[in-house]
Symmetry: C2
Subunit: 207 residues, 2 copies
DNA sequence: GCTAGTTTGTGAATCAATTCACAAGCCGCA
DNA sequence: TGCGGCTTGTGAATTGATTCACAAACTAGC
């Protein structure tokens, strides 16, 4: 498949959220113009984004809400249940374990891992905190799809290497460092400090 | 000043992190090549990024670590102390309040706000949870620079409107919805669900 | 079945970001 | 002082993303 830009995928994810809202309110069709208004973009952008994957609308009418929703879920791979593991049972790990958004979207948290004896064996939100020593064996058995890294910065790269060797192909990283991973893996980094500094930059440089 | 791309600012923030690490290890100079290797980019990109703001290096030698660090802190506006307020004392709000990275970088959390009577009056990590009803009066007095929105999706836009009217010019938003704000404000949205769906997309479409 | 009014899908054009490539400048050494 | 080896800073070239603009296709009303 032709390479799809990251920004496109992010917008698709956004459109899907709007569609689900419309679905809930029983709205039957929606135009690219309406989706654009919500998403802070242009109608041409919406249509271009969708056009990479096919043609989902009816001219003169727009898009059928449930139909486009299904197509987007399909494109984004949300049709199946995805298994997550959280690595690092600290503050961020805990916040993630509590986050309801995961379950809503078909993400199931399998387990959390930590190296701290104090934490191992406990649970949060019904999620078991396991010894990181078991990680490789568990992965071979449970076959999780995605690893969420919520470990200290220094630990992030070594842990990623273990995750890679264990055969997990996707990682969501909360450590504030870009990680080096083999090409067959996909790693997304969420870096709050960076966003904050984007704000101070704007505050400082907006004339 | 010429418009600087978001991606450039994010990279500068990254370079600064590396410089601080080098500073800690007593390394005196660094080349664009080295910064690029760390940051997963190219040396030309590093030099171009810096060139928007001046010329900081010495040909044949590279960049003096503490000097470039100072320049970057300056550019990013990290010279001063920034006052934050957290709105929403739920799970995400709590994780943010605990996050040490804020303090390290000169961000001071002034207070947290919530509408839940159960929470008002309590503290987490020394941060007082106040009644959202006081918000406007407090802002007029404390003059915070940045508001961090950790409220439910439905509440995000109305709260943003209050933040805007109160005169705060920068917002870090954790609600999974793009917000509409007046032009003089800067809003950054951190959306985990979007990143996760970027992963499932990759897992699904990587042939 | 014709017309007026919409809205899609998409090449072409524009705008933006990244990479290339090289002259200019600095260091160290003889 | 002059030469060899590096590394910066930056226009030019390229690659990538967004916007424009319009023909094609549909609905509704008569």
């Amino acid at each position: 498949m032709k390479r799809i830009a990251d920004s496109t995928v992010r917008r698709l994810s956004l459109y899907l959220r709007f569609l689900e809202e419309f679905e809930g309110r029983g709205i039957a069709t929606v135009s690219s113009e309406e989706l654009a208004r919500r998403g802070g973009t242009t109608s041409a952008q919406v249509r271009k984004d969708l056009s990479f994957f096919g043609s989902f609308g009816k001219r003169g009418l727009g898009y059928t809400v449930p139909e486009l929703g299904t197509s987007l879920r399909d494109i984004l791979g949300l049709g199946k249940e995805w298994r997550l593991v959280i690595i690092g049972a600290g503050k961020i790990g805990a916040a993630l374990a509590h986050y309801r958004g995961f379950r809503q979207r078909g993400f199931v948290i399998n387990a959390a891992y930590d190296t701290n004896r104090e934490k191992i064996g406990r649970t949060f939100e019904g999620i078991e905190i396991r010894d990181m020593a078991r990680f490789e064996a568990d992965v071979a058995k449970d076959l999780p799809d995605i690893a969420v890294l919520a470990v200290p910065t220094e630990a992030a790269q070594p842990v990623l290497d273990r995750v890679a060797r264990a055969g997990i192909k996707a990682v969501l990283n909360f450590a504030p460092a870009p990680l080096h991973a083999p090409a067959e893996m996909t790693v997304k980094t969420v870096n709050m400090a960076m966003e904050l500094e984007g704000l101070t930059f704007a505050l400082t440089n907006k004339e």
